[in-house]
Symmetry: C2
Subunit: 432 residues, 2 copies
Amino acid sequence: MSRGAERRAREDARGALGRVTAESRRVFRDGLTLQSGQRLPCVDVAFERYGTINAARDNVILVCHALSGGAHAAGWHTGASKPGWWDLMIGPGKPFDTDRYCVMCSNVLGSCYGTTGPASIDPATGRPYGSRFPTVTVGDMVAVQKALIDDLGVTQLAAVAGGSMGGMQALQWAVAYPDAVRAVVALATTHRHSPQQIAFDEIARRAVMADANWRGGDYYDGARPSDGLAVARMVGHVTYLSDCGMERKFGRRRRGGHERTSAAPFEVESYLDHQGRSFVDRFDANSLVVLSRALDLFDLTEGRASLADAFAASRAAFLLLSFSSDWLYPPHQLDTVGEALRQAGRPVTCETLPSDDGHDAFLLEHDAQAPIVRAFLTSAAAPRGFHATTAPYLPDNPLGPISEEEPSRCSLPLARPAGPLVPSASCSLPSS
Amino acid sequence: MSRGAERRAREDARGALGRVTAESRRVFRDGLTLQSGQRLPCVDVAFERYGTINAARDNVILVCHALSGGAHAAGWHTGASKPGWWDLMIGPGKPFDTDRYCVMCSNVLGSCYGTTGPASIDPATGRPYGSRFPTVTVGDMVAVQKALIDDLGVTQLAAVAGGSMGGMQALQWAVAYPDAVRAVVALATTHRHSPQQIAFDEIARRAVMADANWRGGDYYDGARPSDGLAVARMVGHVTYLSDCGMERKFGRRRRGGHERTSAAPFEVESYLDHQGRSFVDRFDANSLVVLSRALDLFDLTEGRASLADAFAASRAAFLLLSFSSDWLYPPHQLDTVGEALRQAGRPVTCETLPSDDGHDAFLLEHDAQAPIVRAFLTSAAAPRGFHATTAPYLPDNPLGPISEEEPSRCSLPLARPAGPLVPSASCSLPSS
C-alpha cells in the first residue's frame, strides 16, 4: 500500500472532519501598535474551528500554521482536492481530538489568507498596503491570536501547538501570556533563527526583489513578481526536504523515467519547478517577505538574561519534537529550548524522532508523532486539577457526534458582543 | 593573531611564488566534438605554471579549480589585492611544492577566465556564443586539459588535484586517462551529484534566468542579469559555509555592531549581499549555468556496472579528503568513492578532517590538510620505481632557485610545434 493510501486508510478508520468553512473576525478595532512601534488601523483575522467548545470554555486548542500555511488546518473545503494542512493530526479520534477539544487555527498577521496582510486594502489609501505594510513579529502574530480568543470569550487555551513558524508562535504564547496556556506543543522549530536560517530567508527575499515586477512591493496593479517568488519557493522546498529523503524520492532519475537521457531534466528539477509554479498562484510575494522577516527577528532571549528567564512565568507543560533529518531546524535547537525549560522548572518532554522527511516531517511523520502528542495532551492539556488517570475527560458536546455531512464547528456562547463577520479585508481608519 | 595574519606569517615562513602571469594556448584546432555530440570549432585554454618542469617531463602536477575559479591558482598578479585561490597550498616548500614540481592550472572549458566559454566569440557569427554555447561535461573539461598537456609534451602527470568541481576533474582524469596520472587528490567532492546538489544548482540557474536581463543567455550587448546572478551566488555561499561556522562568524549580530537594532540588517545578510555584488563583477551568468549543469551531469557510474568498474583501468594512487561540516559535499560521498577504489584494488587514503568551515574547508583548512597532501604526494606522485624513502627527489631545475622578483615559470622544451599564444578568445572556423 502506498504511503498516501495508508494515510487515507488511517483517516477512514478514525473518521474525519468532513466539510469545514472559514470565519473572519475584526480585532483591534481601534488600531494595533506593533512591536516595531508602527500601527495598523485594525486587524481582520481569518480562522477555522473544529469540534465543540465546552461550557467552561477550557477545551480550546490553538493550532498555529507555518509560513505558507493558513487557517485551513483540517477538514475539507467545498470542491478542494486536498484537506487542511494538518488534517492528519486534527479530527475525531486524532491526536488533536475534536471529540474532546475545540481546535482552532487562525491565519497569521501579514499572511495572505484572509488575515490583514500586505495585500489587504490600506484604509488610508484605498489601495493594498504593499510596501507600506509594517514590519510584523511573531509577538505581533500572537497578540492578534490573543485578541481573537479574548473576543471569543476564551481566557485560557488547553494547548497551543504548531511546527516551524507555528512552533515559534506556540513558544511565544507561553512567554507572552504565561497564564493563558496550559500546554505547548512545538515541533521542528527554534527559539531564534541561526545565521544560516536567516541566510536562506534573505535569499528568498532577494529572489523576490530581483524580479523586474517587484516594484518595491507595489505590484498589485500589474504583473506579479512570479519568477522571483518561484525561485524563493524552490529555495524553501530544498530546505524542507532532507538529503536522504531526496535521494529516496528522486535519485538521479530523469523526467519520463529515462535514467540517462541528458536532454531530459532531472526529476528533482521538475519537482522544484512545479513547486515554484504552483506557489505563485497561491501566495503573495509581500507576505513571503514580511513573514520571513518575522521569523528572522524572532528571538526569545531578546531583552532577557537567558532563555530560561523567558519561561520563568510560564505555567505550561511543554512537548518539543524535532526530527533527525531536519537540517533547517536541526534538533539541537529544540534541545536548547528543552534545557532552558528544565532550568525554568517547567515540565518538558523533548524528543528527536527518526525521520528522513527533513523539516516537512512535522507535517508527514504521523506514526511516530501522533501517539506522543496524544499522550502529552491527555496529561497536560486538561484543566487544572484534572487527572486523566483517575477520571476520563468527557467534554460537554452540545452538538452531539460529528458527522461527515455537517462540518463540525464550535458552538460558542460569546462572553461579550462579537465583532461583525468581515467579508472584505478592508477596515476603516480609527478616528484619530 | 588573526586568522589572516597567521596565514600570511606561514606564507612568509615558507616563501611564496611572487608575481605570476597567465598563458594561453589553442587546442583542438580542427574542432572538438563534445560528449553531447555538439561541436566547438576550436578551444583556447588559459593556464598558469609555477615551478620548473624537469628533463623527464614527469614532475607536472595539474591543479583543477572549482566552479567560480580560474587558472590563477597561486602567486600574485600585478596589482592584485590577493593571491591565487590555492596559494596556501602551492609554492616553494608548500604541499604542492614548486621546488619539486611544476604545478599547472588551466581554466576549464565553459568558464569566463580566458578559456573558451559562452562569452567567447563564436567564429560562426562574430558574436559571443551566449545561448548557442553547447552543453559541456566534466569529461569535456578534462579532454581539453589532456590536449593542453599533450601540447606541452607531457605524457603523464605526477598528480592531478582539486576540490569540489576540481575534485571531479581529478577523478575523471583517473577514469578517462588511466595511464596519464600517477596520483589523484580529490577534496570535498563526489563521483556524482545527489538530487540535493542538483536542486541547489537548479535554483542558482533559475535565479539567473528569472532576471529580466537574461534574454535567454544572449545579453552581451546589453545589461547583464546581475540581480539574478547575485541571488545565485548567495545560494552558493550558504552551501559553502556550515551552520556552526556561520554561528561563529556572524551569530545574530547586526551590521554596525548593534546587537538588537531591528532596523539594521543582520551581518550575515550584509555578507551575502557583498558576495553577490562582487560576484557579478567577476563572473559570467552563462558560465554559471553551463558549469553548474556540468556538475549535475557528472556521474562516473554512467554506462558502467559499478563505480569500482570506472576505476578498473586506473594505475593511480588516490587521496580523498572530506570535511566534517561540509554538507554540500558530505563526507559519505567520498567514502563511497574510497570503497569503490578499494574494490578496484587501488591504493587509497580516505579521510574526513574535522572542520567547521563547511565546503570552503578545502580552500581554508591548511593545517590539517597540508601535511596529508604533502606526505601523499611524496610517496604517490614520484615517477614509477622511485622510492621517496631511499632517495630524495631532486628535480632538474634549470632556472635555479625561485625568487620573489622573478615569477617562477615552467621552462618547457616543447615536444612538438607549439600553438601560438592566442591573445583573443576568438578562433577561426575549421574548413569543413
